[in-house]
């Protein structure tokens, strides 16, 4: 926001309140009430506002208080955000960033535990990225704001408290690139967002058991970084996808399909995909834990694949 006066923020309670997860804390004091705008509760409308402002030359960052609420903005996101650059023949661009906390938290109930990446992935014209560490959150946010395309940036409710030493100076990560978290030889584990941490936890156990997993945080959910993913598969020949989406129509489903289309000849085993079940996320903590892929399941899956 300091570098570019056209960058502005819209959302509920993003101003003096600092945002539901304090992502915009202090910004209203620095940049004023107009550039960090508190909106009334109307997601479709403030997203629409973002589209209109973007078409006019601003670079709005639209926050959904919880990503799940952006389902109310689905029309503006798909029919307008994703489409207007195309239907106007390239005359109008919509460089908005739509972001917010999503994913399964701790007992937040079904409506606050949505994984919108599965619902949005079909929309042409949108780009989707998921951050998972303080380092990639900063780099991806900057890249998303600079992008001329509408970008949906998925943050996770349980990852805001992570602490990491990151460079003070400017750096911009590539929106379309995946991140190599742990190189390995035996199996390619593809994951993103919070599941990265469950995978790394499982990786510790796996290493003790003698396995050498390669862990890739795909980061770019649309489009997939098939270059990095492909190189990994060509090396390990086995793939495990670990995601938080529901089984049906999730990122895993699309990723599986893309891998089969492109790297069928390199696979020595069927692609395994661990996802949440096709149920709304329950409130009770034991039930909720059962819907999220746990490290023990990941270990078991790797053992099965590597037989």
């Amino acid at each position: 926001m300091k570098l570019d006066p056209t960058v502005c923020v819209f959302g509920e309670d993003v101003g003096h309140y600092g945002g539901s997860y304090k992502v915009t804390k202090g910004l209203a004091d620095m940049f004023g009430d107009l550039r960090v705008l508190d909106t009334p509760i109307a997601e479709n409308s403030f997203t629409g506002m973002g589209v209109g402002a973007g078409m006019k030359g601003l670079r709005p960052v639209v926050e959904g208080m919880n990503m799940g609420f952006l389902l109310l903005a689905y029309n503006q996101i798909s029919n307008n955000c994703g489409m207007l650059h195309y239907t106007s023949g390239g005359q109008f661009k919509i460089p908005v960033v739509i972001r917010g906390p999503g994913g399964v938290g701790r007992q937040l109930g079904a409506e606050h535990s949505q994984r919108l990446e599965s619902y949005f992935q079909s929309i042409p014209g949108l780009q989707m990225v998921a951050c998972s560490t303080p380092y990639n959150a900063k780099g991806l946010m900057k890249a998303a704001i600079r992008s001329e395309n509408p970008v949906v940036l998925f943050e996770h409710v349980l990852l805001y408290n992570l602490k990491e030493k990151i460079p003070d100076e400017e750096y911009v990560l590539c929106l379309e690139e995946a991140e190599m978290v742990r190189p390995g030889e035996h199996v390619t584990i593809l994951t993103y967002s919070r599941m990265r941490y469950h995978v790394m936890q499982a990786a510790k156990t796996l290493v003790d058991k003698g396995y050498d997993p390669e862990v890739i945080d795909i980061r770019s959910l649309k489009p997939f970084d098939l270059h990095t993913i492909g190189n990994s598969i060509k090396k390990t020949h086995r793939v495990l996808i670990v995601e938080e989406c529901m089984r049906t129509g999730g990122i895993g489903a699309s990723l599986r399909s893309a891998i089969i289309d492109n790297f069928w000849d390199y696979l020595d085993a069927p692609i395994m995909c661990l996802s949440s079940q096709d149920v709304p996320t329950p409130y009770a903590s034991t039930l909720e834990d059962a819907t999220v892929v746990q490290p023990a399941q990941i270990v078991a899956a790797v053992e099965q694949i590597c037989q």
């Binding site: 107009l34 409308s45 506002m49 209109g52 006019k56 503006q76 650059h85 023949g89 005359q91």
Partner: protein, 490 residues
């Protein structure tokens, strides 16, 4: 000029409103000398930067009594409230005030519900009578002969364009069309009152605004035929025009989605402190969408310079306004959001021109949204996919097409000023007709956009997956050329 009309309107409104029920006063967000000062003391106000407390004398004068927002001055409203005993039993006098978030309100011991309507319908601003003569005592924004004639000729052009393109669809030359029959005054007169920098976010029945700004008949035809000269590159249905050069946002079919976008555009103008406003058009049906509610609410809260222009033409496809809402039309809703509004005769070019001119001035200089409800009639069918004789009487349509035609009414005024003659009329109509037929012929013969354009502009740069998909399509076309049209370049 604006102040005079406002004073008239406001005193009328004030008297009527004070008679019915104690209307609310809008709190001000401007510092210094407020246009609409805070109502009853600062204490209970929501956190707003720089709002001054009402001076004690003012508070005493109000006697804890809500008074109508007076645009040009307090006197008329105050006088009205002093003279008349409100019907709803909200008595003045020494009532205590109750303190709640949002401000102080006076209490009343009698239980009374606000009526569902004002009783009388909000009256309609009109300048020209049915015979094209200015109504005596009417006040309106003067237009030069040049502008007046341009308005007239563009209204005629729009009408002829509609007729010819409609016929072209019937002949199977284009797939779809919708007309603005009966709404030519709304289209052209509103456009004439705007500046080229004002941003237009249309619904789909406002091609006249684009026409006024200089979109040529050929450009219209190119879009309708979806040829390679179409700025939309053949991606949208006919009539979904767009031109960033002319500040006319590309039409998007879903209803009212452009309303919150207009607030966003206005927000951007406000950030840049530009001498321009946003204007967005929608029909009576569009006011039922959730986006209408939220956009008006947002615009009011954010003090965005946007004109909400409602073309209340009586019909949303087959739904008449009696089934669309139960309020007194659309203008009354403005007040619910704290937005100033006006009802205008949409078939009166001079009235529409004046209203938009004033609305624009207020929107920009005062940083506020304005609601304009133009009453009119949709003379044509909803579109070429509709036959409106199935749900409304033919003689009703005929009546509006002839006796209430905005073009002939305005023509009478223009001819009454000796600015126009019958020979110029026939010359104009012949010329436009010829030009249109020519444009259609040219557009029809032009090649369609190539297959590459199927994949460009989805993103700013073509990503690899789309490149792959394009290659796949090309390979398929090469293998089976007889299955694909010959006039689409690969």
């Amino acid at each position: 000029m604006a102040a005079l009309w406002l004073a008239r309107a406001s005193s009328q409104l004030a008297r009527r409103a004070a008679r019915r029920h104690p209307p609310l006063r809008r709190p001000s967000r401007h510092g210094g000398e407020p246009a609409s000062p805070w109502l009853l003391g600062p204490a209970a106000q929501p956190p707003v930067l720089g709002s001054p407390p009402l001076p004690a004398a003012e508070r005493a004068f109000r006697r804890g009594f809500c008074s109508v927002r007076s645009f040009a001055g307090e006197s008329s409203a105050a006088a009205a409230s002093d003279e008349e005993e409100p019907e709803n039993g909200f008595a003045g006098g020494d009532q205590q005030a109750l303190d709640f978030p949002g401000g102080k309100v006076s209490l009343v011991a009698e239980m009374n519900f606000l009526p569902e309507s004002h009783g009388e319908r909000i009256s309609c601003y009109r300048v020209l009578d049915d015979d094209g003569r200015t109504i005596s005592g009417s006040r309106f924004q003067e237009v030069s002969k040049e502008v007046a004639l341009k308005m007239y000729s563009e209204m005629v052009t729009l009408q002829i364009m509609d007729n010819i393109f409609y016929e072209a669809q019937r002949q199977g030359r284009i797939s779809f069309y919708l007309t603005s029959n009966g709404e030519e005054a709304i289209n052209i007169a509103s456009a004439a009152a705007l500046s080229a920098d004002d941003i237009v976010l249309p619904q789909y029945r406002e091609p006249g605004v684009l026409l006024w700004r200089g979109f040529t008949l050929q450009e219209f035809a190119n879009q309708c035929f979806g040829n390679n000269m179409d700025y939309g590159k053949g991606r949208q249905m006919p009539i979904h025009y767009g031109s960033n050069r002319l500040n006319y946002f590309t039409v998007s079919s879903p209803i009212a989605t452009q309303l919150p976008q207009a607030v966003g555009a206005a927000y951007s103008l406000k950030m840049d402190k530009k001498d321009a406003c946003a204007i967005t058009y929608f029909g009576d049906g569009g006011t039922s969408e959730g986006d209408f509610h939220a956009a008006l609410n947002f615009a009011a809260v954010m003090e965005a310079p946007v004109i909400f222009f409602c073309r209340n033409n009586g019909w949303a496809i087959s739904t008449p306004t009696t089934e669309q809402f139960r309020s007194d039309g659309v203008v009354v809703r403005g007040q619910a959001y704290g937005i100033r509004g006006i009802r205008v005769d949409g078939n009166d070019a001079l009235a529409v021109y004046s209203a938009v001119h004033a609305a624009r001035e207020m929107a920009i200089t005062e940083g506020r949204p304005i609601l304009v409800e133009a009453l009119t009639y949709r003379v044509g069918h909803h579109s070429t996919s509709d036959d409106s004789t199935k749900y409304r009487p033919v003689d009703e349509i005929e009546h509006w097409r002839t006796a209430r035609d905005p073009i002939s009414r305005y023509r009478k005024w223009v001819q009454g000023n000796d600015w126009w003659s019958d020979s110029e009329e026939s010359e104009l109509r012949n010329r436009v007709r010829k030009e249109l037929l020519q444009a259609i012929q040219v557009a029809e013969r032009m090649p369609k956009p190539p297959v590459t354009e199927l994949f460009t502009d989805v993103y700013d740069q073509i990503p690899s997956n789309l490149r792959e998909q394009e290659q796949l399509l090309r390979d398929t076309i090469m293998k089976h050329p007889s299955d694909y049209p010959t006039d689409v370049p690969v």
